[in-house]
Symmetry: D2
Subunit: 364 residues, 4 copies
Amino acid sequence: MFNTFGSIFRLTSFGESHGAGIGGVIDGCPAGLVLDEEFIQAELDKRKPGSAHAGLAGTTRKEADRVKFLSGVYEGKTTGTPLAFFVENSNQKSGDYVKLAYTYRPGHADRAYDEKYGFRDPRGGGRSSARETIARVVGGAVAQLYLKEHGINVVAYTEAIDGIYANNFGAFSLDACEKRLFFAPNEEVIPHWQERIEEVRNNLDTLGGIVSIEAHGVPAGLGEPVFQKLDACLSYALMSVGAVKAVEIGAGTKAATSRGSQNNDAMYYENGKLCYTSNNAGGIEGGISNGQPILLKAYVKPIPSVAKEQKTVSREGENVTLSIGGRHDICAIPRIVPVLKAMVSITLMDMFLLQKRMNKGNDF
Amino acid sequence: MFNTFGSIFRLTSFGESHGAGIGGVIDGCPAGLVLDEEFIQAELDKRKPGSAHAGLAGTTRKEADRVKFLSGVYEGKTTGTPLAFFVENSNQKSGDYVKLAYTYRPGHADRAYDEKYGFRDPRGGGRSSARETIARVVGGAVAQLYLKEHGINVVAYTEAIDGIYANNFGAFSLDACEKRLFFAPNEEVIPHWQERIEEVRNNLDTLGGIVSIEAHGVPAGLGEPVFQKLDACLSYALMSVGAVKAVEIGAGTKAATSRGSQNNDAMYYENGKLCYTSNNAGGIEGGISNGQPILLKAYVKPIPSVAKEQKTVSREGENVTLSIGGRHDICAIPRIVPVLKAMVSITLMDMFLLQKRMNKGNDF
Amino acid sequence: MFNTFGSIFRLTSFGESHGAGIGGVIDGCPAGLVLDEEFIQAELDKRKPGSAHAGLAGTTRKEADRVKFLSGVYEGKTTGTPLAFFVENSNQKSGDYVKLAYTYRPGHADRAYDEKYGFRDPRGGGRSSARETIARVVGGAVAQLYLKEHGINVVAYTEAIDGIYANNFGAFSLDACEKRLFFAPNEEVIPHWQERIEEVRNNLDTLGGIVSIEAHGVPAGLGEPVFQKLDACLSYALMSVGAVKAVEIGAGTKAATSRGSQNNDAMYYENGKLCYTSNNAGGIEGGISNGQPILLKAYVKPIPSVAKEQKTVSREGENVTLSIGGRHDICAIPRIVPVLKAMVSITLMDMFLLQKRMNKGNDF
Amino acid sequence: MFNTFGSIFRLTSFGESHGAGIGGVIDGCPAGLVLDEEFIQAELDKRKPGSAHAGLAGTTRKEADRVKFLSGVYEGKTTGTPLAFFVENSNQKSGDYVKLAYTYRPGHADRAYDEKYGFRDPRGGGRSSARETIARVVGGAVAQLYLKEHGINVVAYTEAIDGIYANNFGAFSLDACEKRLFFAPNEEVIPHWQERIEEVRNNLDTLGGIVSIEAHGVPAGLGEPVFQKLDACLSYALMSVGAVKAVEIGAGTKAATSRGSQNNDAMYYENGKLCYTSNNAGGIEGGISNGQPILLKAYVKPIPSVAKEQKTVSREGENVTLSIGGRHDICAIPRIVPVLKAMVSITLMDMFLLQKRMNKGNDF
């Protein structure tokens, strides 16, 4: 297994959903960073089951999810040595899962996992559990502390749920979005999403949506021209989150139906400053950041655990039906937002350090 | 710079568009593989300027692009030692480029490259040149030779050009698509694409499209459950090709508007064989291949080098206009198809070796 | 910083000597291994301050050093997911160290560390503390559990202390050496070593020695012919332990004064089995194990913390004198033995998995 | 196989002794370095069969060994893109080797290679051939060009041949050593070495020796405190050269019989400059360079190809005798000196770039 992400700022994730807890080790974090544990905990709280952002979409499980740092901090600052952290599991109902152990849940990793490894921890998906993303959110929060110090601000919000686009209901105010229900970019869309979620829940079904992640203040020069393109690394980061089925940068899918003259972002100087007329590139040209905001979208599939009865098979080779009750989310959206934000933050941090460590000019 | 791709089957790419040539080293290729140089050359010919597939979309440059292997082959078979290869450059018109040296071409890496490195080889984009993809196509062809021996077949074709979808004009016959103009999945769409390209060319503009890549015969078990998810690795591979602005797996963007009960691929046993009712997952569940075909789409932006006059800036900080004549493609589509196929092939080869080297059951 | 060791079986080490504790994450451990925590704790106890093996050579600090696993184990067996572990610090006397904070201790990393990082955690050397080796011993113990299952036995013992060679006093019985004081290969040498250590202690000085590490049952085929030579990897492993100043394989330094006809290990068949007349190669030819025992020696320098007064400098640039009291070891030897054994075990485990995952014959 | 060395300055080596040639790709070389091809060729000439340095010790083969760069250079300077190079093989007498194909040569990789891979290119050892070191010498020469620009000078010389130490015959003048026969550190020892070599040659045998490598001008701060210790990396580099059986740093093996008070290098300030009274540490403390010269020694075994008759076995399992005539070296020493120098240079370059890219102070 490969449980490390990043090349300079490296996050190694460990832990199971039904073991002692979830943790991680961050190696390569610069020294001297004020480790604002309150901020980190707040980021973690955003993905917590039953978080204020989840509204009716979330599970009813309540978990404390308190992060504790085990190393790498001295008098409130990072020392540059590995930052290890741990979040204890508290509310484990393995019983809920054991009955599923021998039934392959459609849309889950169950069967592929069995095919790969020949066996499977029946308790909640093991490493395939969404609970593993705790380590990512903590890693991302540490990255954000550093990025903020360097003028880079990552923001993530829900663009659409089940085809209901927020921009049809009002303008966006990104500053406030992380405080709103569903990480909505405006207030107006919220009741529409709530209504739809309620309807789908009553229908014993689940729904998906689109998450936008933007990074402002990213300097030009991040990313490599051949393989470690910034957009390639960001796609890898987003696609490494379970439910994401498509990723786009800037104009994204729309670029495929644009003409070159439309899609190109024209440049001009105004008051000695280079400006772009548009940002179809999403802040990345030739794999390298160009100083414009980085614009990403992730398309999130509906939660596969539906209460509706589904046809499926057992591990033993029988055709069976399955209806997944339990305490599952109706929509991954609110809880996946901080995870996607974290993955983008870790990637930008890694690429920022990589670039920072090279000298502009004669040395790369 | 990082010019190596892959973890076990590793391709290191070198060379510039206007230097001696383009080459690569493949380290980690299994020994005993019959190195069918004719097949490899044929794959390379598909991305060649002026290739039969390009129709009116391609540049008029003619380059021999003959691949020569420098090591790792003995009596026609790989020896397991590094496979080095080289493709000489023959038709270099640096003059065409030098006049562009100090003008930032919109939609190109020019400015970001300058911001990153502080200097730039003015001749044709250096490592950012599409000519670098020669190394990828050779690497991909070697991977395909191995994959074929193991029953895996990768096919790539054009799904749409400028919003004209092939499936509106006829059924797909994928076996023949690599022999057709534009790698079209049916004959019927070809005149429509030709007409549109002709129209856009007369309009001094360029256009984009959508490429599908499918892998059939991929066994279940490829990919890792946390970070090296197969879909994440494939996204990284596709996004590392210049013009790609969005990537999707299976249902992709459509998954964001599906309900869980629709989007889940139900399983059932028929004659003792596990079957799926659909393939919205695109052959990957929880980051691991499930034995169904891998289905990928790449959204390709229009070529940024347009003959139409564009506003842009010079390196020295002036506002200028630019009209790019030269021998440029109108549409990246036909030539990018073998490159995307190659990147998917290299990734699958790498993940296949990774998985093959682990034992199902007690050891991973 | 780089705190990860290994390529398949990867140990990431974290923690400081005067923080919450020392821990690690092992990624890439095969699933299904019985995690014998008693054995692991016993290995850890061997390096413990005040261990039975240390005799008069050790420090008088007493630390519980209990290892606790945080993930990767289910019903007593590894699951193949990351194995995280933690050992709490209990007996921290930072005060002892703070007075040293601004004096560069000769023979320590103090000044080089300051030159590199510009600052230094004054409490006990931070990551340069020998206490960091706790993570290595735990990692090595897990590796040994696996190696044993595959017939590979790693043994480490003290060859000489301060020039007093054990083989001058009696034959070796390696089976018992790990139970003896100083990990001595025979009983006879022990009083001589004790006497010398006592003498040197009274003289306010410290002493060094030679540690042998042998691996029996290693199959032929481990290691790579060019860069990842088995001997190169083992040298790296041993030299990554603080006090080691020279490493040799097989005949080692003596090979430099042998003739080819003497130094070559002649081969012959006896009863259909390939035998060697000698093992000057130390079990490694051309970087690849040949099936003979792996024979390594590490030359360990005397502990630099001497009670005798030394001339040195302060961080502020003054010439000062320093006499290091505290609870320091007189000789690294007994406590370094399990660490060197662990590093060899981790390296062999890593190379074993690497080789195991390739197929003899057509595929490497 | 793993044919890449280094983490930032990465050399990928390819080619076989009896194929088209030997080459390599250097990725991560800073841009703007004047690529003095004359210097590089001169370094390569030093390891050439029949080189002026080899005297009577070398083989009588003559090979042109001209290095040709294929990419990464523009107007005589590196561009920061991959530097690929190739050295054609010219004088291949596979016939000499074919008769050895089925006899395992004692002291060679033959049998271990067969055990590992199940097959072997019979022509001259394939990748295990010493000819592979051509790629290392070219890589090392490029590294030296950069290191020199930064005030770092690497020098390598022969300390002893067959137990005859140069320092018994005269003082050392390292400036001249690379021009002398055998890379001797003084003129006086040369006739003694020549005489001994002649004697051993007449005796149909071979001999070994000791090579010293020193690096002057290395700034403090290179290397990492835990795993990527500078001494560990240098040991790995030296041990990755075929004939090396022991490696030492500074006092090396002698440290094992020193007392702490002797072995410590005391520090003092003189005229505001920090000085050391000795250099037993060999310039490395706690894995980090301390600004003193780096002092390394490699113990080289005698060439295993002896003309004297040896007992050995065939691949088919028979006991046979073998006498290796051919055009083999009597002593690896003169030709291994530039290779060891190259490996140290590449390692220092890599660690220098790694450290250069971090900021002293708050950021590592």
